[in-house]
Subunit: 181 residues, 3 copies
């Protein structure tokens, strides 16, 4: 598995399911390996709580789950262990939490990117593509769309592998060859 993977896609495009299979090594069947799940979601309302429960039921056992809405860099570094993949689901909710908390988004992205340096675990990030509709009507909608686009570009540049999901089907947008040695 490459050190850093980014799985992009729209809503209900199969991002989380694909990333989970990549993390546990079950894309082509076989026994799942242990992995860490860092959930950025907060069960603030019924709609979100229902989604979180559905995600959890689908994942099943073999996962250590950590809930961290804001301090992602700290959570990733705390969870790192050799050959144990970390799945962060998802950067979109993290971004939304950061904006809600009035955090400095560039600083948070810097910190996230720094946390990946020399990490023992491979990390997989799930993130939404949100910029392919018409211009949002509200300033907040436009600000969120722009921030998400900037964050996705930043993470895609850092990632070794970037996958775009459409209707459950993966399309590889970037695949950096593993270093020899």
């Amino acid at each position: 598995m490459p050190p850093v993977t980014l799985v992009l896609g729209g809503a209900r495009s199969g991002k989380s399911t694909h990333a989970e299979k990549l993390a546990t090594g079950t894309l082509f069947g076989g026994l799942p390996r242990q992995a860490v799940y860092i959930a950025t979601a907060q069960a603030g309302d019924v709609e979100m709580a229902t989604r979180i429960m559905a995600h959890r039921a689908r994942r099943g056992g073999g996962w250590t789950t950590i809930e961290e809405p804001l301090k992602l860099a700290v959570a990733i570094q705390g969870a790192a262990a050799p050959r144990q993949p970390i799945l962060v689901d998802c950067l979109t909710l993290w971004l939304s939490n950061l904006m809600h908390a009035g955090a400095d988004l560039d600083e948070a992205a810097d910190e996230l990117v720094r946390s990946l340096e020399g990490l023992a675990s491979p990390v997989l990030f799930v993130s939404n593509e949100v910029g392919l509709g018409i211009v949002p009507e509200t300033p907040l909608g436009r600000a969120f769309r722009d921030a998400q686009g900037r964050l996705n570009m930043r993470m895609a540049e850092r990632a070794d592998r970037v996958i775009l999901m459409t209707a459950g089907l993966p399309l590889t947008l970037k695949d950096r060859p593993a270093p020899r040695g």
Copy 2:
């Protein structure tokens, strides 16, 4: 032609035109073959009536047209005939009609998938990608986006070939080799 083809894309991406050319075998010129067109649109308002007429004018002759807003599985099975392709345009309006009618969406999708088993005709479905903008403001908007995403994943899993259209250009996301025989 593979048994089941799914043509995905955004609004005005050239989905219908491409699917029509695939159905009639005119993608690279040549004489069109007979095909069946199952329209799920209902001319409920002026905007939609205008679109339906424009689609019809573009298709021209050589098509048998069936209008079926809801009972798609029945319409497909009724229209099946050896070597006569069926084009369903589109699953997005079908889904919208089902939601408006208060139908059970999972049951309808099950029935649709079952109707394709052992069918004499190759079938082509046109469907919209709607999940790549920011989160819709209304609960209905979010429910529709989620239902469309789930339906697209379901049909993409069942399809032998999946094509994503962008600005009239096709990108093949899945192409299952034809069984030898």
Copy 3:
């Protein structure tokens, strides 16, 4: 460089940056070549003025900038010179300006396509994909989405090369081989 390139993508997908690198030949480093930048943006409000300034600062020297919100065909023909690429950024704002001015959109697109015939300069167009969200709530939103989709299809058909940007990563959707000669 092919005669006509179209760079598509959502908001904050890295379209402009990629097109600028293609125009100046700096995609893989090296010294930038001279190029013409045709800006269709109008600094009508603070949000837009800020964006224009950020774009300008990023581009740096080596560019001749022309501002033309409406008469794109005239601007392109006026700027053409052998081996000097022209970058038009972007067709989405041009379309928005045309709609605001009540112009005939098909006629404007015809004129634009005609302006490319036998041009001395290679031209690169940047344009937004806006049709992958749910149906816009307002008639103006739907009209814009449809007009943008039609324009993108038209330009993609005319272009020799079409690139779709996602999170700063290019995906080639069309690449017509250069004529031998």
